[in-house]
Symmetry: C2
Subunit: 220 residues, 2 copies
Amino acid sequence: MKINVVTNILDANNRIANDNRTFFDEKKVYVLNLMSSPGAGKTTLVEKTIIALRERFKIGVIEGDIQDSYDAERIAKLNIPVVQINTGGACHLDGNMIKETFPSFDFDNLDLLITENVGNLVCPAEFKIGENAKIMILSTPEGADKPAKYPLMFAESSVLLINKIDLAPYVDFDLKKARHDALAINPDLQIFEVSCKDENGLEKWFTWLTNAIENFQQNI
Amino acid sequence: MKINVVTNILDANNRIANDNRTFFDEKKVYVLNLMSSPGAGKTTLVEKTIIALRERFKIGVIEGDIQDSYDAERIAKLNIPVVQINTGGACHLDGNMIKETFPSFDFDNLDLLITENVGNLVCPAEFKIGENAKIMILSTPEGADKPAKYPLMFAESSVLLINKIDLAPYVDFDLKKARHDALAINPDLQIFEVSCKDENGLEKWFTWLTNAIENFQQNI
């Protein structure tokens, strides 16, 4: 019975997410669903990505949090359109929450919508929102056992950013194991080693994203 | 409608958790519910706590994970009774999962049952399991904004261990803000600054736990 309830919720969500996707296609807006544990560096990545790509693409941001609007306030300082979703206890964004932000954006003036999910390695991977790609961050202090422990997140993502690579020497992070286990789950996963703090390695991520947006806009 | 479903699930869980608590009281077993983000150091804390207190108390462990049994294998090496719960996708333990482990333990030979929850700062705080105390770990690389972003976890916990304090200089962790915001949510919260890696600060945690178990056993 409990499983049926959950299945129905996921089915309903998939329908709304597909509607969102159709809408984004019409508007030629490329959408990222950014996921990670709490504190892995999502908001800092969003900030750095905006600064790197804002000359090339018109960018909007959705911030998802249980409550509060600290992250949205950080993004607003960059003079980028941003909407804060407060899930009120829910541990993930869903298609309907994204749909409710539509009146707040001018989608004819957007190329890229970055959606920052609630910090959580479990549920965000289950709920589509209408994204083109799921991007996940694994930070080195979390440990290299995370692909084995939270496989759905790695299976669903197109890109894995291994962040806080500057901390790797202090936290005994086994990079080889993390890469191996992540690729065993998802052989197509693009993996970039980065430090959002000192910006090392971010250039490859910017190139990947630029190509993804341009391919999408040319082929839609 | 969705809210009603969730409320019913929580009510049903509370009833099972209360039954578990009655059972643990009869057996004089003190139960911890240990919660944190993925990779904050839960399993290492369990290992260190076992090593420090095993002469004084008979200890058992429940490991909660989406899938896999790596953590239970780590604990089993210490020759401690341990049961692995695989939640099969669920992002938290609940009362019924704990109840199902009962046949696997000899509770007449236990003083302390340490339950390690799924790595997640949201849902584990909502689901009681029959614990005496919720203990949470916040690791410094996660950042000092976590009390404001995940308040229920801090509101529900009796003890906050600020772990990886050895990394604080490398990650610009604002200890004063973390303490202030956590205590604003929960003035009764016991806060210990520790490094599970080099064992700094753990003595105060061991003392707190020893006193808690002895008080419980004398007064039940």
